[in-house]
Structures are given as structure tokens and as C-alpha cells.
Symmetry: C2
Subunit: 414 residues, 2 copies
């Protein structure tokens, strides 16, 4: 059996023990995992140093090296995140609905763990611990496939977590790291029907598309965001400026940052010169269509600019013929993540929120608010840009499924 | 563009008009579809006669011919089912939850149509109308791929529904039938990412597996049920007999019929002789393990009997060493559909419902109750045997997704 099948089969065998554990036992396991990390700094940092040495040797970018780097402070943060999970409400066992049928059957729909959740991710070794923590909190075993560059760090972290779980009387195989970091191991994970209940790719569009195309196990697509801000004719100009600047510059490297600004033709002359100057002053490179360039100096946007998720201080700027033009542009180029309108016109807001097809539609608010933390969900699993099972920020409940429990006293069908 | 891509693209283009229609408009469309069927009996029956003639020529079984046959009475039933949908609550626009964040953002999670729902099905032409009705009620466009044997009937039915939709001012392409009934057309449907939001195969295990393996669009697996009834040591013998007989013989051809009986070793001698006689008297062929055969005359079950979904008057019978044996047997052979325990022992019931991993777990009730109608959901879309998005009987809500609507007054992130 290959490394991947082996890991999945072991996780599946371990899953029932965790699924049957009480919330108190799972929380105690999380606390033990955090304590084990606290006690293992030197072991983790040594492994991390080996990854960093390889990365430097291979000429990996300093940005990527930074993402790979663990420090005592970062390890404290990772352990603290595990402890925060302890305080969140248990998603397992919640009765979503219940009713009694005319024949006396009592039916309850109860939240239960999925079983085995697999995650494929890039870069940061902290995801290994985050993902394991989310899995344990939600009663799932997990199979983790991190990147090659972080393999020593990930291996050390997984081993520490596994020892902590075993110390709590739970099977260590509740957390399995896949040692094989070849591309083929991702494809194999996607084919592990019957062993993996959910596969979540966390990374760029290339990784996500590859996983979706290759997988026969259920996948949740996360995170690709070509988010638009549409400034309507009836926008409050101060709100428009504040929202556009925030959506683009607050944290440009994340999926809920804005990538395209659309401006109603009637207010472009009034709004664009000042707004463009503010954006440029904030370090943003603008790429506009001809109508936008009539009001402010910027490079000409080419076709692909309208579909780009820059994840950088770059913004495409288009002038549209009102709400219909904005809705049509977003339908053609949006990725279904987050779309925002700035307007004081009730009718425009109502049409925009009804007709734009996205996980989140915002009125007079920055796209940056599409976030598990900002929604008050506590844990951050990712932002689903697909429509099945979970859409938008995912909380712990999205790592569970439901089961109907039906209780009778001898009912048969007539 | 191929027939399949063409149909999917047309449905996607038509979908927003239906999604934005009010519930009253969608209900009026359903009523118009029913009235159009009422007025078109001769047109449908003529097409159906052509299918039946081909089927007889090809030597299709009389059972299949019966499933293919339409009559004025059956057409009345199909129209009545459309009218029943009118009376069901609208699943669209329901606010699943809503909250206001400390910064004043008002967030609502609102139910919205998925967009385009595709269905692949076998045999019965009534599914064409059922599927179209469910789609229209839930605000979705649909792409339908029926079987080759029913192509004339399906084409006539789809045309009648399309004319009715157009008469209501809705795009006819809200309902698209795929004329290409080759195997390749199913595979192509599964690859239509970006055009199809959900694909539901309705048919046998072969069709379902092929669809899951081939598809990159989201699929919901339905209906394969290797359902078990476990008769515990603490079972009430009368309840056990009634439930086993009902689960096996009430309607053996459907997915929630029982396929395997498991009996606690301590009560096998008392229970099996009488129960086996009753089952045989009801026309059931029994295939037992050696321990079952010690108590009643039956053929020896071979390995594949424990995994078979007979859909017929055949029952595998095993004697197990108590609850642990039953749970282990079900974990090894169950398909995650419906599993039942007959017991008066609270502890046994509690462990069975907690530890058995299935869409529905029953205590002292027939497996036949796993059904949208029996659960009170009104419409019958199918029974999901997977864990994502929908598990168990699917109601209209399972043909929708949600969208977060976020309203602010200029909020930005700090």
C-alpha cells in the first residue's frame, strides 16, 4: 500500500474513537497538543532550521522563507490558537431540527463528524497544527499533505501532536501527515474514495483547480477571490473612497482584497481623479479601461486584468454604464467570492444583493469583512467559493455532517 | 459546441431570470406546466407509443416496458405532482441566520437557488417532469439527461414544459433536455465546470459510480442502500418480526428496503425458525451464514451476498455476537443509507445510533421510513448517501445554496 493510501486507511480506522469521544475529551486533547508544543520548541526549531537551510540552498524567495520560518513567538501563537479552539462551542451533537411524525416516529437531525478530512496546503508549517486542531475539535481524523519545503517542520509538528493524542488515550493516527510530497500524492489523495470524506485544498488557483479536476472524493474549493467594488451613482463619495482604499490596501495578499474597481459613468469624472491619486499615494498600481484613463493617469488594462487575482497592490479600474453594467461585468469576471456596492440608493442595493451571484455581497462595507473571524465564527477554516455544503467563511460546523436518528416503538409502513 | 455544452450554456443563461422570479411567478409556472400536460395527452402518448414500439422490437423486459409506459391516468398523476409542489413552502429567500456584528455590520445568510442543476436518470419518463418541477420550484434551471429508451417521450414532455414556461414569460431554456443519450454525454455533463452547479445521478450503483468517478462538477450520490436490520438480544420478538417483514417485503425494489438481517446469537434459536418461515411464506429467498442455517433451512450466503443491494425478495441472514458484531458487520458492508436496530435496551439503542455511520439510524422502526414523504418534506428529490451538503432524504432546501448579504454604513477593517 502506498504512503497515501496507508495514511488514509490508518486515519479512517482511528476516526471512530475520536468521533465517539466527548467534547471534554476532545478539548483535553487540544490542551495536551498545545502543552506538547510548548514543551518542544527546540525539537521544532531544529527541524525548521533544516527546512530553512534547504530553502536557502535552493534559492527560495525571502518572502517564502519568511512564511516558512518558525520562532519561539510564532510557536507560542500556534499553541495559543489551539487553546482558543477549546473555548469555542462544540459543533458535534447539535440537534439541527427535530420533529414527531403523525405515526409517532421521533426524528432528530444531529450533527456528527464527517470522519476523515484531508487538507492539502502550501508553505506555512503552522497550517499543520491549525488543521489538526480544527479536525480534533470537530471530531474528525485528518490527513495532512503539506509542502516539500516544510517537510521537516511538518514532520516534527505532526509527531508532537500524535504523541500528545496518544498520551490522552486517543489513537495517534487521528493525525496523519503524508511524507510523500510529490504531485502524485495529491492526485492519489483525491482518488481515496471510501477513505477520505472531505478534501480541502488551501493554496493558489493552480493547486485548487488541479485538486478539483483530479478528485473523485468530495472537495471544497476555497479562497480564489477576484473581488469587485462597484461605486454607484448614488454613492457617498467619502464612504466610496474609504471602502475602496481599505478593500485594496488593507491586506492585498489575501483572497478578500479587492482586485477591480468599477465606477458608474455618471460619477467617474467627479470621483476618479481624487480616488486614483489616493490609491497611487498608497502604492497601488492602476490599470484602467479607456474611459477610466480619461479621468486619471494609469496604464491600459488588457483582457486578463479583468480576471486577475493580483494579491498585490495592483487594481483594475473600469467605468460602467450603471448598475446593469456592473452586474454584467461581475457575472463575466467574478469568482463568486465577495462583491461590494457603494450606494445610498435602496433600489440599487437591493438589486445588487439579489442579482450578484457570490458567497458574500456587501453594501457600503469593505470586501475585507468576508472572514470567519469578522463574521464571529471563531475558527478560520477557509472561505468556500463553491455552492455545495458550505459557501463563504467556514466555521467548525462545516467540518461536520448530519445523521437522522429515528426512534419508534415498532412502526412499519402501510 | 456539442449538444451537452450547448444545453448547459443555454440553461446557465436562462437561470438568472428564474432565480429572480418571485415565488408567485414560479408557482404560476408550475401550474401552467401542469395545465399544458393536461392539454397534451395525445401528443405525449403518441411519442410514448414510439418508445414502446422500439422497446418491444429490441426485446426489452416487460418490467422495463411497464416503467416506460405512460397512460392518461399516469399523466394525470404527473400533473398532480406538479400541482402539489405549488403548495409547498418556497425554499428561496429563507434567512437561515442573521446577526449584527459589534461594528454594526448586519449579516444575513439567505437561501438562494444553486443556478443550474443537472440530473441523469434511467427509465421512467415521469422523472423528466418531476425533475423540471423541482428545479422550477427551487428557482433553478435544469439540464436533463434521460435514457435512450424514453427519448421520444422525454422530448415531447420537455417541449410541452418549455412552451408552458415561455407562455409565462420565463425563458424556455430553464428546462433543457439533452438529446444525446450516449454514455459520453454523461461524462461531458460531469466535466461542465462553470456551467453546472450540481449533478444528481438517479439510478443504479453502476451509473452513480461512473458519474462520481468522471465528474469534476459537484455530485450528490443518491440511493444505493444495503440496509441492515439488527435484532438485538433485548428485542421485542413481535416488533422484530413486524419490522423485518416490512423492511424486506413492503417494497423490495427501493433503496430503503432491508437487504441483510443480523440476529444476536443469544436469540437466534428462539427467533429465526419462525421468522424464516414467515419470510419464506412472503416469497423471500433467504441466504444465511452457517450459524443462521443451524436454525432454519436456507441457502448458504457467499461473500458477495453481504454487499448486495438485491432490490428483490432476497435477504441475507447473519448471526452476530451481539451489538459489537452487528456494528462491525455494518461498518464493513453498509452503504451509509439506513440501518435499524430492534431492541428494548436503552444502552444498546444509544450505542447503535451513536456508532453506526449512516444517513439514518432507526430504533424499533422499519428502514422503509427513510423517505422524503415519510419525513414530511413533501417533495422527493432522492436520498443522499454521501456526507457533504445533503445526507438522507433531500427536500427542496437541498436544491439551494446560501449567500451572505452584508449591510453596513461605510465600515472598513482596521
Amino acid at each position: 500500500m502506498s504512503d497515501v493510501r496507508d495514511a488514509c486507511a490508518a486515519a479512517k480506522a482511528a476516526a471512530p474513537a475520536l468521533a465517539q469521544a466527548t467534547a471534554a475529551e476532545r478539548d483535553a486533547a487540544l490542551e495536551a497538543m498545545a502543552a506538547a508544543l510548548d514543551a518542544s520548541h527546540s525539537r521544532v526549531l531544529e527541524a525548521n532550521a533544516a527546512d530553512l537551510a534547504s530553502a536557502r540552498e535552493e534559492g527560495v524567495s525571502t518572502a517564502l522563507q519568511d512564511r516558512l520560518t518558525l520562532t519561539p513567538e510564532r510557536l507560542d501563537g500556534i499553541a495559543a490558537a489551539l487553546r482558543e479552539l477549546v473555548d469555542l462551542p462544540d459543533p458535534v451533537g447539535v440537534v439541527e431540527r427535530g420533529f414527531t411524525r403523525p405515526n409517532g416516529l421521533e426524528i432528530r437531525q444531529v450533527r456528527v463528524p464527517l470522519g476523515v478530512v484531508a487538507m492539502v496546503y502550501e508553505g506555512r508549517p503552522n497550517v499543520t497544527v491549525d488543521a489538526a486542531g480544527l479536525a480534533v475539535k470537530s471530531g474528525n481524523a485528518c490527513v495532512l499533505r503539506g509542502s516539500r519545503t516544510a517537510i521537516h517542520s511538518n514532520t516534527a509538528l505532526a509527531e508532537i501532536l500524535r504523541e500528545a493524542l496518544a498520551g490522552q488515550g486517543l489513537p495517534a493516527d487521528v493525525v496523519r501527515l503524508i511524507g510523500d510530497t510529490s504531485r502524485e500524492s495529491v492526485a492519489e489523495l483525491g482518488r481515496a474514495r471510501g477513505l477520505v470524506d472531505l478534501l480541502i485544498p488551501r493554496g493558489g488557483a493552480g493547486l485548487i483547480n488541479a485538486v478539483v479536476e483530479q478528485s473523485s472524493v468530495p472537495v471544497i474549493e476555497t479562497g480564489v477571490g477576484n473581488c469587485h467594488v462597484y461605486v454607484d451613482r448614488a454613492a457617498d463619495p467619502d464612504r466610496a473612497r474609504a471602502i475602496v482604499l481599505n478593500a485594496k490596501t488593507h491586506r492585498p495578499s489575501v483572497c478578500n482584497a479587492a482586485e477591480t474597481l468599477l465606477v458608474h459613468a455618471d460619477v467617474a469624472a467627479e470621483l476618479l481623479p481624487g480616488l486614483a491619486a489616493e490609491l497611487v499615494a498608497a502604492g497601488v498600481e492602476l490599470r484602467g479601461d479607456e474611459r477610466a484613463r480619461a479621468h486619471a493617469s494609469m496604464d491600459l488594462a488588457v483582457g486578463e486584468d479583468w480576471d486577475a487575482e493580483y494579491l498585490d497592490l495592483v487594481l483594475a479600474v473600469g467605468v460602467v454604464d450603471g448598475l446593469d453594467g456592473a452586474i454584467a461585468h461581475i457575472a463575466a469576471h467574478g469568482t463568486g467570492h465577495t462583491e461590494a456596492i457603494v450606494t445610498e440608493d435602496r433600489g440599487a442595493a437591493r438589486r445588487f444583493t439579489a442579482e450578484v451571484d457570490a458567497a458574500a455581497v456587501m453594501v457600503n462595507a469593505s470586501t475585507r469583512f468576508t472572514d470567519g473571524g469578522e463574521f464571529g465564527f471563531g475558527a478560520e477554516i477557509g472561505i468556500s467559493t463553491q455552492k455545495l455544503h458550505a459557501r463563504g467563511p467556514m466555521g467548525l460546523a462545516e467540518l461536520t455532517t448530519t445523521k437522522y436518528v429515528v426512534e419508534g416503538d415498532g412502526q412499519v409502513r402501510h
